[in-house]
Assembly symmetry: C2
Homo-oligomer: 211 residues x 2
């Protein structure tokens, strides 16, 4: 039985993927990975969910691993694009940290099933795919490191250790995918709450943006 939040999530995902059969296979794979786990899912199960034969699936994706790779790749690219858009044009470091955490948290709540499959199944990727995803993940780390460093340099904020603060900011949002369920108050409220907590993590004690 699909949970209430399945529909809104599916609606927004992979709208640019063509043909439609390829998109449906991605949605079916995500649903099965999120429900049963990657290892307990077979390509036959995924194909059956969209009324296709296993051979039909293989005309779009060469393997179950390629489906996981496509899900992980598009998930990371989607989040990265949202974060870059959210930070675009901001020059205040404290405001940028808030916007970063707000965007990350909202994404992980809205797409918690995609995020879960992405965060916790990466070890099942082939080595070259894993390395490609890891270099994308490295860009998140560079972004957050740049934000925290800018905060400290501005004199508005202070941290004991930049690396620990960066990891704490990432954990605050990423862990949402582990515990979030749609009975929780809206992703928007959570994002706003995390923006304030993020400011505290970097040592800006006011609850208000600095400008």
């Amino acid at each position: 039985v699909p949970s209430k939040d399945d529909a809104p999530e599916a609606e927004g995902l992979w709208t640019a993927i063509a043909p439609e059969a390829a998109r449906k296979l991605l949605l079916a794979a995500l649903d099965s990975f999120a429900t049963h786990g990657y290892n307990a899912t077979t390509t036959r199960m995924i194909a059956q969910r969209v009324g296709m034969s296993p051979a039909g699936l293989y005309s779009h994706y060469s393997s179950k691993e390629e489906l996981l790779y496509t899900i992980a790749l598009t998930g990371h690219e989607m989040l990265l694009a949202e974060i870059e858009a959210a930070l675009d044009g901001l020059d205040d470091p404290a405001e940028s940290v808030q916007r970063f955490s707000e965007t990350m948290t909202r994404w992980h709540a809205r797409h918690h099933r995609l995020a879960r499959a992405t965060q916790y199944e990466l070890r099942n990727l082939a080595r070259d795919h894993f390395e490609e995803i890891r270099s994308l993940r490295h860009r998140f780390e560079e972004i957050v490191h740049g934000l925290v460093t800018a905060c400290v340099r501005s004199g508005q904020c202070s941290v004991d250790d930049v690396g620990t603060a960066c990891l704490a900011l990432l954990s605050l949002s990423i862990d949402v995918a582990r515990w979030y369920d749609p009975t929780h108050p809206g992703a928007g409220d959570l994002g706003a709450g995390h923006a304030k907590i993020a400011l505290r993590i970097v040592g800006c004690c006011s609850n208000e943006p600095s400008r």
Copy 2:
């Protein structure tokens, strides 16, 4: 090939479990769940790792699920006991929050493989076992809620929303199990760093304990 951190972790786990064969099965199950995932592990694989037949395994554990349940149950009980010991005798709310986060983080770093198997495989438990673990998890939530509420009442700290602050404190430590690897600086340093960040999350801006 076992990684460098396997040995120290194995040494400290389930020392009270008798007979030795039952303990070895738990360690082998944990190793396989952490490496391959629960669904990709068979009881035959676990038995083989300790030079036992599947029938030999079944004389100790009725199923693969019972092994996961025992791992999850003992993991939660161990962490709960460490937290209760760490908080015992403390009456300063801000100091208690720091001690809570420090203990949680150290445990999740030291036992990151156990924590990972415990946090991310719970959906594979039978319903009655899942409910039992869930009520144990509820005790962590009660502890952290009590700590944050006491901080706010003391007037030393302030939060916008108690529930969001509680979840942020839990995420800070639990997410360690996802990213921690033994190439990272020691679990002790990380615990001390998280103690300071926890104090900031509850709105006490000083880096020093309040007494």
